[in-house]
């Protein structure tokens, strides 16, 4: 096992652990606002860690650059959608505070 493969495995395990924890946090955290923390952790930490693991495993080159672009897309898209969902939640919770008491 080369040091590079070992580094990739460590990053992969860390990334998958973060993603699974955020999925479990989605169920555990009370709605509607605390759940949004799970979203941002997944896209700003979990996905980039896995993408880094893949890039390390692939080695320097065009393929690694493509992976890093995908990781950046996931991170940027996740940030934007978390804010958009937060805004929609604020507007809808104010509009119907009594019905959605979860």
């Amino acid at each position: 096992m080369t040091p590079r493969h070992l580094a990739a495995l460590v990053l992969l395990v860390a990334g998958v652990a973060v993603l699974v924890l955020t999925a479990l946090a989605l169920v555990v955290l009370p709605a509607p606002y605390l759940r949004l923390h799970a979203l941002s952790c997944a896209t700003s930490l979990g996905a980039p860690l896995v993408v880094l693991a893949l890039a390390v495993e692939t080695g320097p080159g065009r393929a690694a650059a493509k992976l890093l672009v995908i990781g950046a897309l996931l991170a940027a898209g996740g940030t934007v959608t978390t804010m958009a969902i937060g805004r929609a939640t604020v507007l809808l919770e104010e509009a119907q505070p009594k019905e959605s008491g979860h």
Binding site: A23, V27, V51, T81, A88
Partner: protein
Amino acid sequence: MNAWLLAGVVLSGAGLAPCMWVSARGAPHLRLVGVNLAGTLVAVAFLVLAQGFGRSSYQDLALVLGVLAPAGTLVFTRFLAGDPHRPGPSGTPEPE
């Protein structure tokens, strides 16, 4: 079976199940959180499965999903919460 395929199995099982659970219950804007996280998890699963199968061309699926999943979520928020340039329901107090 290698580490990448194992990661794909873990993400698909332990990751997607809670997302499906949250997506199936509650008000629409509460479900949207589950759908959004599911999009992220599936994109990452595509990446690790592509590596596990040794077919880098499968990464394009993650690239397309990385672009379309956020767009889809933004469309959902637009339909759920209305026009961002108009004050939301709380903007103008309803007459009692």
